[in-house]
C-alpha cells in the first residue's frame, strides 16, 4: 500500500491540490479555466514525457526547450504560403527536426562519450542559432487556419478544440507508458539508468539504448514545439526559452530521479499539470509572475532533497 502511494504520489498531490484550490477559488473550477489549464499543460507535459525517458536512462537533456522552438519554427515556416507544405507534412517535418537533434545528442553521449549535460547544452545553443536563422529573427506567421487545429485554439466542426492537444498528450502518455512497462526496451532503459555497468554485463546494448532515448526525447520536444506554434498561431523564435527547465522540473515533481533508474511517464505529465495549476492559481489570485518562479524552484529543490534523503536512508547512496 505504501509502495502504491509512493508510486502515485504526484497524482495524489495533484488531486489534493486541485481539490483545495477549487474549494477556495470559484474562478478555478470554471470549465473554461480548467480547459485552458489542461490545454496549456500539454506542451510541457509532452516535453516532460520524452525527458523522463532520458532521465530514467541516467541522462539529462537541456536542449528540449530550444529543440521545441526549432520544431515550431520549422513547421510554421514550411506551412507558410512561401513553402506552402500541407499542414500535416509541416508538423511531421517539425517533429522530425526535433528527432534529428535528439539523435545527434544521443550519438554525442553514447558514441563520443560527451557528458549529457555538455552535449545537450551545446545542442541547446546550436538549436537556438538555427531557430533564429530559419525564422530570420522574426515571428513566423501567416499559416493557413488548419495549422491551428493541433494546438486546440480554433473550433473544429463547431466544437471547441481544446481536447485535441489533450488527447494527443494522453495518447503519447499511453504509448510511452506501454513502452516503459511492457516492452524489453523499457526494462533496458531502467537498467541503463539503474546500473549501467551491470546492464552492459547483462548484454544490454547500453549505448544503443541511450541513442534511442535521446532521439525519442528530441522527437517529443519537436512535436511539443509544433503544438505550441499551432496553439499560439505563430512560430515564435523565443518560445523555447527556459522550457527545458520546466520540463525537467515536471519530471522531478512526477517522481523521476535525476540519478537514473526511476520515473514514470504519467508522473511526468502529472508534474507538468501540477506546475500549470500552481501558475494558474497564482494568476487567479493576482500573485506576481516572479513569485511563481520562486515557488516552482522551491518545490523542485525540496523534491530532489527528499529523493536524496530517501536514497541515503535506504543505503543506496554512499557517502
Amino acid at each position: 500500500m505504501r509502495k502504491l502511494l509512493a508510486r502515485h504520489s504526484p497524482l495524489l498531490i495533484l488531486a489534493a491540490l486541485s481539490l483545495a484550490i477549487s474549494m477556495v477559488s470559484p474562478d478555478f473550477r470554471q470549465l473554461g479555466n480548467l480547459q485552458s489549464v489542461l490545454m496549456r499543460t500539454c506542451v510541457i507535459a509532452i516535453m516532460a514525457i520524452g525527458q523522463t525517458l532520458v532521465i530514467i536512462a541516467g541522462g539529462i537533456d537541456l536542449s528540449v526547450g530550444q529543440v521545441a522552438a526549432l520544431g515550431g519554427v520549422v513547421s510554421a515556416r514550411l506551412a507558410q504560403p512561401g513553402f506552402g507544405w500541407p499542414v500535416a507534412a509541416a508538423i511531421v517535418a517539425g517533429t522530425g527536426a526535433g528527432a534529428v537533434c535528439g539523435l545527434i545528442n544521443g550519438l554525442l553521449v553514447a558514441r563520443a562519450k560527451v557528458p549529457p549535460f555538455i552535449a545537450t547544452l551545446g545542442m541547446m545553443m546550436a538549436a537556438r542559432g538555427f531557430v533564429f536563422l530559419i525564422s530570420e529573427g522574426q515571428t513566423v506567421s501567416g499559416m493557413p487556419k488548419a495549422f491551428n487545429i493541433l494546438g486546440g485554439s480554433v473550433r473544429v466542426w463547431g466544437l471547441a478544440g481544446w481536447w485535441i492537444p489533450v488527447l494527443a498528450t494522453a495518447v503519447l502518455c499511453l504509448i510511452f507508458t506501454t513502452l516503459l512497462t511492457l516492452t524489453p526496451l523499457g526494462r533496458r532503459i531502467f537498467a541503463t539508468g539503474g546500473n549501467p555497468v551491470g546492464a552492459r554485463m547483462s548484454g544490454i546494448p547500453v549505448d544503443r539504448v541511450r541513442i534511442i532515448v535521446f532521439t525519442l526525447c528530441g522527437l517529443t520536444a519537436g512535436f511539443a514545439g509544433c503544438l505550441l506554434a499551432s496553439r499560439t498561431g505563430v512560430g515564435d523564435p523565443s518560445s523555447g526559452q527556459g522550457r527545458e527547465l520546466d520540463a525537467i522540473a515536471a519530471c522531478v515533481i512526477g517522481g523521476a530521479s535525476l540519478m537514473g533508474g526511476e520515473g514514470t511517464v504519467i508522473g511526468a505529465a502529472a508534474g507538468a499539470l501540477i506546475m500549470e495549476v500552481l501558475v494558474n492559481i497564482c494568476n487567479l489570485m493576482d500573485v506576481k509572475n516572479y513569485w511563481q518562479d520562486v515557488m516552482v524552484g522551491t518545490i523542485v529543490v525540496a523534491l530532489v532533497s527528499y529523493d536524496v534523503w530517501r536514497r541515503r536512508r535506504s543505503g543506496l547512496l554512499r557517502e
Binding site: T178, L182, T183, P184, R187, R188, F190, A191, G194, N195, V197, G198, A199, R200, M201, S202, G203, I204, G261, E262, S314, G315, L316
Partner: protein
C-alpha cells in the same frame, strides 16, 4: 603461428574454448602476453594469480567485453571472434559477477531475464510466463536462496542471494561455460559451501566452470585443473592429480 602445446597428448578431446597465443594490450600496458588457455568440457578450472596478473582481463576477453590484441580464439576447434557480449552469450558463455551485473532497483524476476526478456505479440513482454519460470528456476536450481518471491527487490538480498540470482540467470539460459569472478569473496561460509557444491552439481550436468579466485583452498577443493597467471603469462598449468595444495600455494605466493 599457433603452436600446439607439446605436453598435450594427441588424443585429447577438442577443448570447448581455446585461446592460442593471446596478447592483450591496454595502450602501452601489456595485460596478457601470448597466453595459451583452454576450457574443457565438463571441468572446473581454477584461475589463480595475484592482483594484476591478468585474470580479470582473461575473463573479460571470454565474456566478449574487451577484444584481444593478437592471437586466436577457438570454439570446439573452430576459430571464432568474441567482439561483443552477445558473441560470447551465443557460445553459451555466461559470467557471474558478485553483484555488479544486477540492477538493485529491479526485482529478482526482472534481473533474471534482464537483456533476454520474452516477448509475445506486438513486442510486448510475457510477464506472467517470465514470473513462472523465474519461480521455477529459483526453486529447483539454487539451494542457497531463501528468496521469497520473484518480486523481491535485489537491493535487500544478501551476497549469497544475489549470487543465486546471477546463477539462476546463467543456468536458466542453459549456458555451457560459467565464469565466476571471485565467487566466494562476499559470501558466508555456509553460502560458500552451497555455491561450490552447486558448481560441482552443474559439472555433472556437463557445465564447465572457471573460478577466478584468491582463495586457493576453495579452488583446490572444487577444481579439477589449475592455471596460475603472473604478470600476464601462464606460470603453471596443472591437473589436480599432478599437484597438491602446498605446491599450488607455493607457486601462487611466489608469483
Amino acid at each position: 603461428m599457433a603452436v600446439e602445446r607439446s605436453e598435450q597428448p594427441e588424443a585429447a578431446p577438442v577443448p570447448l574454448i581455446e585461446l592460442r597465443q593471446v596478447t592483450k594490450d591496454y595502450g602501452p600496458i601489456r595485460a596478457l602476453c601470448k597466453v595459451d588457455f583452454q576450457i574443457r568440457e565438463g571441468e572446473v578450472l581454477a584461475l589463480l594469480g595475484d592482483n594484476g596478473a591478468g585474470k580479470s582481463t582473461l575473463i573479460k576477453i571470454l565474456s566478449g567485453i574487451v577484444p584481444i590484441t593478437t592471437g586466436e580464439i577457438r570454439y570446439r576447434g573452430e576459430p571464432v571472434q568474441l567482439r561483443s557480449r552477445q558473441d560470447s552469450t551465443n557460445l553459451g558463455i555466461e559470467t557471474i559477477y558478485q553483484d555488479i551485473a544486477l540492477v538493485d532497483d529491479m526485482d529478482v524476476m526482472r534481473n533474471i531475464f534482464l537483456g533476454r526478456e520474452e516477448t509475445g505479440r506486438f513486442g510486448l513482454m510475457r510477464i506472467g510466463s517470465m514470473r513462472r519460470k523465474a519461480m521455477e528456476v529459483l526453486e529447483h536450481t539454487v539451494g542457497i536462496s531463501g528468496i521469497k518471491s520473484p518480486e523481491q527487490m535485489v537491493r535487500g538480498l544478501s551476497g549469497g542471494q544475489k549470487q543465486a540470482v546471477a546463477l539462476a540467470r546463467a543456468v536458466y539460459f542453459k549456458n555451457k561455460i560459467l565464469l565466476f569472478d571471485e565467487p566466494t569473496s562476499a559470501l558466508s561460509v555456509r553460502e560458500t559451501n552451497k555455491t561450490l557444491e552447486y558448481i560441482l552439481e552443474l559439472k555433472h550436468e556437463g557445465v564447465s566452470s572457471v573460478l577466478v579466485t584468491h582463495n586457493i583452498y576453495h579452488a583446490y577443493k572444487t577444481a579439477d585443473r589449475f592455471v596460475v597467471l603472473s604478470h600476464g603469462r601462464v606460470l603453471l598449468e596443472a591437473d589436480k592429480a599432478d599437484t597438491d595444495i602446498e605446491g599450488l600455494t607455493r607457486v601462487v605466493v611466489n608469483t
